[in-house]
Symmetry: C2
Subunit: 369 residues, 2 copies
């Protein structure tokens, strides 16, 4: 444990459709064991264990997932699994946590963590977070974790860094939205751009003040909710007031305007991180991660099945835990079987799975989404 | 009904592995409903209905399949579902039927029918069979049904025909084994070659005499079995004697040597048939047949599922009757799901499915074969 107060805020409201048919509204990616025996959110909390006991963890989620999350996370007090009455992106969720924790633990440092990413090198992860906590505790500093890019990815936002602040700490020049291919390639070549991991560390006070400064309409709404915390009216106030908050990300609402102050004045710092991060944005990304983790066979097949026979087949991802799966002459395919559905798609089309969910919604197949 | 005695002999001993994972040793192709609601053997008997009542049908099968066949075929007396004590190809099976029927109905005509082929145009089929029965009843004639080839198929034997005997009846010159590609193309171009359908019509006496002539060692064994028919010793005699019969096809054992007598003396006749025949030799053949039957969608997908969504997908065959199946960007694939297994293979590899069964046998997975 660190001797500075530290509270992880795990954001678990996502209703991920990217892992359909395994993921559903009430069984989102974060509560699935996509990679190993523990679920994504269990592993998120597990890996923070050396820095924060479960009693210090807060989770922001929705009512469809909260029961499952409470069942999965031993030791987290139920009151710390907060259900948003409406989905409102990361700014209200992180802001709410900041106002609440500022009231309960005025000097604590918060870490904002997505609940559905994998991190291969946990000791490296912990070392970076400890450094971030020290930096965040030292003043009005906002620390963002930047991932060293390994390809010209167009699916992520990027952090442009400027001068060196300290060993392993860079000043942030600018946050960018998802770039097109050409810009992504330029970012990769430039060397001072990092993927925005969505992991931030700052004191509760710094984040609350940032919300007051950059979201002057949202701040009083969040203060009103926090004022009701612990009273019999809390649930009603929360349900009435929270949906009035703007639906906006913390990056767009707070970090981008803050960076406009210039790298010397913004107090924005990037810690470049090298800990085998993968946000598992698609079945293809999961396959790629499992190949890196050496879970695949010698032909790049990952088969989570009750036995398999892969004849002249390579680069496939198969999930069908109760069945024997035979493939003959198949390349680079994703096959996922659940109790009620099967998905079949080439790996390089697997990011289109959201279209299936959209179609099912249009057909009124609530049973399948 | 025809006024000449006619008994269909349905050969149903095959242990087809080509439709794995649906087909298993005890659930061979002939007892599956691959194409429609009725099973292959049910449809075989159904389509003969106008020519033979179920009480006139005999089935030769094995003990793994006989219970299922009896349950599927209403009206066939149980004693007429004969279980071979050992698999011995078509010559002993057809020969046994000939000796037995010759004893029970000395003047009857037999039709030998595989139990696992599809025939699209049933009226045309019945017309050909009626003609074959007339011809077979008129003397020591052996009538074979030849299918007009539509491609240079190397998987079938061919019948080379000679001169015209009567309207729609050709004399047979020769039977050939499965040709190589070059010969198959020459056969197709020549115009007087027909696929050997495995359907034959001849009187019981003609077939029994042909076995006596061409299989002098097998004939007394079959006579010994038939002599025990109806006695308490039958089962034991059958079990002891039948396995001594040579494992050989009727084509190779009887028809080929008979054709060597020359087309004027062999009494071998071919009826060219045009009734949408398909022996469904693979998942690909089933798909092709269903496309011809207009069961596919406009993109050539056949999906036997509890709902499907085919996005940018074409030419696929999917069987998963209880599940919703989504395909994205998939072409020409076979996907078959059963209670315990899934097969995935491109259509043009689907004839290799026997390799999966072989592998499963080697692994001792009796539950899956």
């Amino acid at each position: 444990m660190t001797d500075i107060g530290f509270h992880p805020i795990v954001l678990a409201g996502g209703s991920g459709t990217r892992f359909w048919p395994r993921s559903r509204k009430a069984r989102a990616k974060q509560v699935l064991a996509l990679d190993g025996e523990r679920t994504m959110i269990q592993r998120t909390v597990d890996r923070l264990g050396p820095l924060a006991a479960p009693e210090e963890v807060w989770v922001i989620t929705n009512s469809l997932l909260s029961d499952t999350i409470c069942a999965q996370l031993d030791g987290i007090p139920e009151g710390q699994v907060v259900c948003e009455p409406a989905a409102r992106n990361t700014a209200p969720a992180a802001g709410l946590a900041a106002f609440l924790l500022e009231r309960l633990f005025p000097d604590t440092v918060l870490g904002i963590f997505p609940s559905d990413h994998v991190i291969a090198d946990e000791p490296a992860f912990l070392a970076v977070i400890e450094k971030a906590i020290q930096l965040a505790a030292a003043g009005e500093n906002i620390v963002v974790l930047g991932i060293q890019p390994t390809r010209a990815e167009t699916g992520y936002g990027y952090i442009e860094t400027g001068s060196v602040y300290a060993d392993g700490v860079l000043r942030v020049k600018r946050f960018t939205e998802k770039p097109n291919q050409e810009r992504a390639e330029a970012f990769l070549a430039a060397g001072n751009y990092f993927w925005n991991s969505g992991m931030f560390v700052w004191s509760a006070r710094t984040l609350a003040n940032a919300v007051r400064e950059h979201l002057p309409e949202m701040a009083p709404l969040l203060e009103q909710i926090v004022a009701a915390w612990g009273t019999p009216e809390f649930r009603q106030v929360f349900a009435e007031v929270y949906p009035k908050c703007e639906n906006i990300s913390i990056d767009y609402a707070v970090l981008e305007p803050r960076s406009a102050k210039g790298e010397q004045k913004s107090n924005l710092y990037c810690l470049p991180a090298h800990f085998g991060w993968n946000d598992l944005g698609s079945w293809a990304a999961l396959h790629e991660h499992q190949v890196e983790q050496k879970i695949a066979d010698e032909h790049g097949n990952v088969a989570e099945c009750a036995g398999s026979f892969m004849l002249n087949s390579e680069g496939n991802y198969v999930f069908s835990p109760k069945k024997f799966v035979a493939m003959i002459g198949v390349k680079d395919l994703v096959v996922v079987e659940t109790e009620d559905a099967i998905l079949i798609t080439p790996r390089d089309h697997s990011q289109e799975v959201g279209k299936v969910v959209k179609e099912l919604v249009e057909r009124g197949r609530k049973d399948l989404v």
